[in-house]
């Protein structure tokens, strides 16, 4: 990619409607806060390592049960990919192709779904194996650290990336941890191996901003470090203070333009206030969720997704009204008091009320089986008397997380024009016995059943030298 193109890319990503490619040619004299911010973002976001390209040729999967996560299931159906995009998805056989495919698969007896998307991962920032030297997910030195970016802590050699891909995951949002009221910037990654994190960034994905309420910040600071915040009161005060500063910073940018000093903490929150960055808010208890919505109203921004939200089922009317998604587990609960009212029917109840429900992992283990977790949440829905179709439940791990990350125009369903991220499963994706036989990103097969694991991570390479056969 040429640098000018890159700049354009990042203007589109961060500048929203106010910025356009023409803004590149303008300079600091233009005193729109939006254009100043966009230029600053562009400067901080140049690529050093180029992103690996899409498959340039045709590819086709025939004869499988195609679950589109867009309301249609084709059994049997086909998916045709060209230049990294889906160009056909329909029932029956694709017929004559316009060229020779780079790869093709007869998926008889198998199921095809969109690539799975996890809105909440700490892969790379809390990588495997667990190690103090790699504990890079919580900048727990101050409670508001909007200036830190998950991508700067992300270790692309984390063996967990490969195991997630092997489980059918193609895109993840890596978030800073929940120690801080404002934890910093998350990053949405496309799971193709690169040497640095930035080149893994999902093209044009907006920035997610991690914030947290409830027990974690007050425990980390008040209880362990004997400093603010030490209560839920202190949590909300800390966040309001931060947004007051961010508002003042935006005003200053508007007046002084590029002469206004840079402030990494506030540039992130300014993106939230301007609506270009997506708030991703760790929060469990219903009253904590409501308190955060009040804060969002006070400063005029929308929460994109609550994360964990174990009590979201108690306020699903409010969440529906405000169009807030909920990313959560199917059945985790009880480890701490704010998780005590967690119920496994949460996802189904939210879904039935029109809230975008999302199964997330927050775990290097569960990310490998998001499909099972979605199937389980569907069954708990049945226990609550709710009938939810397979294709709808599939949206909890595909289309809905894509929306929460602001990339739903690009991925999340099998529809013509979307990126060719997809998974072929050995059986029904909600069966415990099914596993991916093929995982495709950008049209490229990135996992095939039977391939040895750990092919990307250098860490795993050579761990088994002792015990291997000596060549004759």
């Amino acid at each position: 990619m040429k640098p000018t193109l890159l700049l354009t890319t990042w203007f589109m990503a961060f500048g929203g409607c106010a910025a356009s490619s023409s803004a590149i040619k303008t300079n600091a004299k233009k005193t729109s806060a939006a254009s100043v911010l966009a230029q600053r973002e562009a400067r901080g976001n140049r690529l050093v390592e180029p992103r690996r390209g899409s498959l340039t040729a045709l590819a086709v999967i025939r004869n499988g049960t195609v679950m589109t996560a867009a309301g249609k299931v084709f059994a049997p159906g086909h998916v045709v990919v060209n230049r990294g995009r889906i160009v056909a998805v329909a029932a029956g056989d694709p017929g004559k192709l316009p060229g020779k495919p780079a790869w093709e698969l007869d998926a008889k007896g198998q199921f095809v779904t969109p690539g799975l998307i996890d809105t909440h991962s700490h892969l790379g920032v809390y990588p495997s194996p667990r190690a103090r030297a790699h504990s890079d997910g919580n900048e727990a030195t101050a409670p508001t650290t909007g200036g830190v970016w998950a991508e700067h802590g992300f270790w692309p050699q984390d063996p967990g990336i490969q195991t997630a891909v092997n489980g059918g995951v193609t895109t993840i949002q890596v978030l800073p941890g929940s120690a801080n009221l404002v934890g910093g910037r998350g990053v949405t990654l496309h799971l193709r191996g690169h040497r640095g994190a930035r080149a893994m960034r999902f093209p044009l994905a907006p920035v997610g901003v991690k914030m947290a309420c409830g027990e974690n910040p007050k425990r980390v600071y008040g209880h362990h470090k004997k400093r603010a915040p030490g209560t839920r009161m202190g949590n909300v005060r800390g966040q309001r203070r931060a947004f007051i500063k961010a508002r003042a910073y935006l005003d200053k940018l508007g007046k002084k333009g590029d002469e206004a000093p840079r402030d990494l903490e506030l540039e992130t929150l300014a993106g939230v206030l301007r609506g270009t960055f997506l708030p991703q808010v760790h929060c469990y208890r219903a009253d904590d969720l409501v308190a955060f919505l009040q804060l969002a109203d006070e400063f005029g921004f929308s929460v994109r997704s609550f994360h964990h939200g174990l009590e979201a089922y108690k306020i699903r009317d409010l969440l529906k009204k405000r169009n807030v998604a909920v990313s959560t587990w199917t059945d985790w609960w009880g480890y701490k008091l704010e998780m005590y009212d967690g119920i496994p029917h949460n996802i189904a109840l939210l879904h039935a009320s029109g809230v975008r429900a999302i199964v997330h992992s927050d775990s290097a283990q569960d990310i490998q089986r998001l499909n099972q977790e979605a199937g389980k949440a569907q069954r708990y829905g049945a226990e609550a008397g709710l009938t939810i179709s397979d294709d709808d439940a599939l949206r909890w791990i595909t289309a809905n997380p894509a929306w929460a990350l602001g990339i739903d125009k690009e991925v999340g369903t099998l529809e013509v024009g979307k990126m060719a991220d997809l998974v072929v499963w050995s059986g029904h994706p909600f069966s415990v016995y099914s596993k991916p036989t093929l995982v495709v990103i950008d049209g490229h097969p990135v996992y095939r059943e039977g391939t040895p694991p750990g092919t990307w991570s250098d860490f795993q390479l050579g761990q088994d030298v002792e015990g291997a056969e000596v060549p004759k």
């Binding site: 667990r130 089922y313 029917h345 415990v432």
Partner: protein, 442 residues
Amino acid sequence: MIRALICSSLAVGGLVSATASAVAATPAGGKVACVSYAKATVWEPGARSAPQQLTVDATGVIVALGQQTTPAASACSVQALEGPFVVTPGLVETTSSIGITEIWLEDDANDSAAVSPKGGPMPIRSSFRAFDAYNPRSTLIPTARAEGVTHVLSLPRGGLISGQAPFMRLRGRLQSEAAVNRSAAMVMSVGMGAGSRGHKLQTARAVLDEARRHLRTQSAKGARRLPAPIGAPGAHGTPFSYYANLTALGPVLTNRQPLLVFAERASDLEALIRLKTEFGLALVIAGASEGWLLAKELAKASIPVIIDPLRYAPGSFDQIHARPDNAKMLARAGVKIIISTFATHDARRLRQSAGNAVRAGLSPDEALRAITWTPREVFGSTRSPITLGAVANLAIWNGDPLEPRTSLMSLWIDGARVSLDTRQKRLMRRYRDEPERRGLSH
């Protein structure tokens, strides 16, 4: 004859409405109330029946199975539930702390660990009996039960030797009613952590050795002539608790009580095999992510292994060689395997764990055995087969129990049918049904 069609409300507690864990049977017309499951495929490890009728009477005994009946069956007033069902033994979770932990992060609601009064390190806690802390009214009990778990080994936590784990049935008003064995295993942990893993084994060996001498001294010359404690007084707690701790290791040293040791790395498993041989222990290893590397040796040493089929990534430096088919490879080598969630609140995922072992190549029968019979055998309980005249220990499912999309329809624990309601289902119903909780009546 009452004929009730089974429906989804059963799973959320519709039919099973009693709040006590055991549901009382009501006599009708001088007859005894019995429950009958139609089209029930009885699946025990290694055997699957054709669909048949299975009837349990009010005393919790299986009085009819297929064409066979006991004399008691003639006194039955039958409530018949339509299948098809799959009936298995109740599931056993061996590495949870159900009943001794309600909320991990609240000290007042977490009784899983004995700690030193001075807050210092206390590696040896063998006289700590977790049974004394067991709360039969914990909300975790019905929650695990609702997914088919009927028995747990409830583990104390922390230290090198954490204490004694009771084997509990998940019903009963009293601790004593719930207890199957108040002290079914001694719990220990080795492997990575502060200091060398070798030091943990060094300490374990020294304590076991001292406990052995202590036992001999006690029996030969009376309890007053005690050996000197290892290191400075207080190093293992107060001298008093130290002697109590040595005494408590008696059943372990005489091979009457299993020593359950958490260990993951292959080299630790090898070191534990040596420990077993030296002291003649009934050793059980929990974790064993790298067990497949030592499958032959574990089989030869007759060491049962508790594994989590969901942990197949190199999560820690002790699990670099973890792989999905660990269970299959161990079973193939002849190691007795138990499948576990290694979780307390999430113990209800047990059947999903077993299903994942099957996904990775274990046979369904081996997986079922690893969550039913084997844990019972290893921790000293009976198998509780599903046969005519047997006390009912039954999990009744609407499909394949290893599939997370299958629901539990009914559960019998040691002869009593238990409620499948949970605090979570009540929260669900409250927020599903009550208008003021749904924001509809403002």
